[in-house]
């Protein structure tokens, strides 16, 4: 478990001269307008040792999948290349890449020595005829080669968009098998692109809605293993779990970490009434944040930890509210038609993602914290439970199909509503939670 995280020692080494601070034409501004994907080329990285063999090609493929997968980039296929990159140190023939309209070029080299894999890479702004940023070197274990590729892609993405990347990240989710009336659920974790799936629990008891800790080391989730829903915390590294909250005669669910990684906010149901509470993991002390006969659930902290967005049906239907992290007066932020649930504060702090139900359809949407600029990004029979990519640009969510053969799977969409696509999982899948960028 997490073997490559534990042993991957990434050293970022500057080995090139800093490029001129030029912000030439090679820049994607991620805006709401329709954009033309930026054409780029990523030739197979050059193997510089015998053992580097297929890694050069494999790493280039993962980088291309990451970049093209954003919808912001378009790969110029290798069949169009005029010149080949066979020597990482040799000068780039800009004219050859210009001729095939590759505006960005990523070159690299791979060395494998024992269990260590080292990658060097450079990013070029072809039309300016200059390197974009400086060359970097990354090293890790051979097993962790996909992570190194994701880190390269994150760097390329950041240099061209000016935004943080999100490729070197993981997703914890519920893996589902079996028919609708006998569904088996177990927790699983994978890379953001669906690679390296590992199972974290068995499927003896229902498990729901895992949520990563702020640094990705732990996962909160709800399990019925005692017969009643209880909140558990699981250490991702050693897969040890323990129950966090169990008060006889109650149910607890919908947990999320505060940004401090110590406090958990969750829902507790007692006497049929559901309210929001907090719990300090270390001390076990808690507080009650809401006290109303209505349903208060699905709490999510602001990135600075000062506020909580949640859903409540106190007005008569599910709507979104924001309250101070210590409880107290809440203000309603959703006012459109239909019902709003599962709010999640964006890591940038500027938006809330939510599930909306209206006229028998489900949507994933985003709005500002004052409820303005509501934008519905998806529509289907059943979309729910968005989770933010670490850079706040992309959402992943559950989509369930209709009817007796209904099946849940994961999708992602960017916050402008573009680039809706399925996320590959080995079985049915639901309730994704996106990790932060890994270190």
């Amino acid at each position: 478990m997490m073997r490559h995280l534990a042993t991957l020692l990434l050293c970022l080494t500057l080995f090139g001269l800093p490029a001129f601070a030029q912000n030439g034409p090679l820049r994607i501004e991620i805006t709401e307008g329709v954009i033309e994907p930026l054409p780029y080329a990523v030739p197979n990285f050059v193997p510089e040792s015998g053992a580097a063999g297929e890694y050069g090609a494999n790493i280039a493929r993962v980088i291309a999948d990451d970049l093209t997968g954003t919808g912001l980039f378009r790969e110029v296929p290798a069949s169009a290349y005029i010149s080949q990159i066979s020597d990482f140190a040799a000068p780039v023939q800009y004219a050859d890449w210009k001729a095939i309209n590759a505006q960005a070029l990523v070159t690299g080299a791979v060395n494998v020595s024992g269990n260590t894999l080292t990658v060097k890479f450079r990013v070029y702004d072809v039309f300016s005829g200059a390197e974009l940023g400086s060359g970097l070197q990354l090293a890790g274990t051979v097993d962790g080669w996909r992570r190194i590729a994701h880190k390269v892609a994150d760097t390329v993405y950041s240099r061209i968009t000016g935004e943080g990347g999100y490729f070197d990240s993981r997703v914890v989710f519920v893996s589902e098998t079996g028919p609708k009336d006998d569904r088996k659920k177990r927790l699983a974790i994978m890379d953001y692109d669906g690679a390296n799936v590992q199972y974290l629990t068995g499927s003896e008891a229902i498990v729901l809605a895992p949520r990563f800790s702020p640094n990705g080391d732990r996962v909160l989730y709800t399990s019925y293993e005692t017969g009643f829903p209880r909140i558990y915390v699981l250490d991702v590294g050693n897969v040890q779990r323990r129950v966090l909250q169990q008060q006889d005669g109650t149910m607890s669910f919908a947990p999320r970490f505060a940004p401090n990684g110590q406090t958990v906010v969750y829902s507790l149901t007692q006497g049929g009434n559901t309210d929001i509470y907090t719990l300090d993991i270390a001390s076990g002390s808690g507080a009650r944040l809401t006290d109303a006969p209505s349903i208060e659930t699905a709490p999510s902290y602001s990135p600075d930890g000062s506020q909580i967005v949640f859903e409540s049906d106190r007005s008569g239907s599910q709507q979104l509210y924001v309250m101070p992290a210590s409880g107290g007066e809440a203000r309603r932020i959703s006012f459109g038609q239909g019902r709003y649930g599962t709010p999640v504060w964006s890591p940038r702090g500027d938006l809330v993602a939510f599930t909306k139900q209206n006229n028998g359809r489900f949507h994933i949407g985003v709005m500002r914290l004052d409820g303005s600029e509501e934008r519905l990004l998806t529509a289907s029979f059943l979309d729910e439970g968005p989770t933010w990519a670490p850079n706040g640009r992309v959402l992943m969510f559950t989509r369930e199909t209709q009817g007796a053969g209904g099946r849940a799977s994961l999708y992602s969409v960017d916050i402008s509503g573009r680039n809706l696509k399925p996320v590959r999982t080995p079985e049915g899948a639901s309730d994704p939670s996106w990790s932060p960028l890994q270190n």
Partner: protein, 169 residues
């Protein structure tokens, strides 16, 4: 075309429901207490049996969309449950609340809890001791009918009184 497709799905759903229903009523809910403490259903002709409670008394109450108030249609069922529980005092029960699939996961958990609690409160008002009645909600996690139409949803929006031997309870 759309109508036809929907009709086919609906028919398939009903056919499946017809097949699975008898099995459903033969077990004790199969969820919370199917381990130690649960009893064989027994014979429906034995008024002290779990089978009698499930089939003759009626073990479940159905709810309207997004509602947790008990319809007058089910008062008789619940009165029967209260009488049965009072007579068969060595049983305890977990009341399982459920929702249909039209709703978000967390909300449906809370809604199912409201439904289960409404049944519990009613049974207590009819004289069943509080400490014999627990509640749990499965939200939309445990549908018994699988189609995506009201014909199935109406059966999934339920609170089921699941019995087990109270000797350890």
């Amino acid at each position: 075309m759309n109508f036809l497709t929907k009709a086919v799905i609906l028919t398939a759903g009903l056919a499946l429901a017809a097949c699975t229903n008898p099995n459903r009523f033969d077990n004790t809910g199969g969820n919370a207490l199917n381990g130690a403490g649960s009893n064989a259903a027994g014979s429906v002709s034995d008024p002290t049996s779990v089978a009698y409670f499930q089939q003759a008394v009626g073990d479940r109450v159905l709810f309207a969309v997004d509602q947790s108030t008990i319809s007058p249609d089910y008062i008789q069922v619940l009165n029967g449950q209260a009488t049965w529980l009072t007579t068969n005092a060595d049983y305890v029960a977990v009341i399982e609340g459920h929702a249909d699939e039209q709703g978000t996961r967390e909300y449906n958990l809370a809604l199912g809890a409201r439904r289960a609690n409404a049944v519990r409160e009613y049974l207590i008002s009819r004289g069943v001791a509080e400490n014999r009645l627990k509640v749990v909600s499965y939200g939309k996690e445990r549908p018994i009918e699988v189609c995506s139409d009201e014909a199935c949803y109406t059966k999934n929006r339920r609170a089921v009184t699941v019995l087990s031997s109270g000797l350890t309870g």
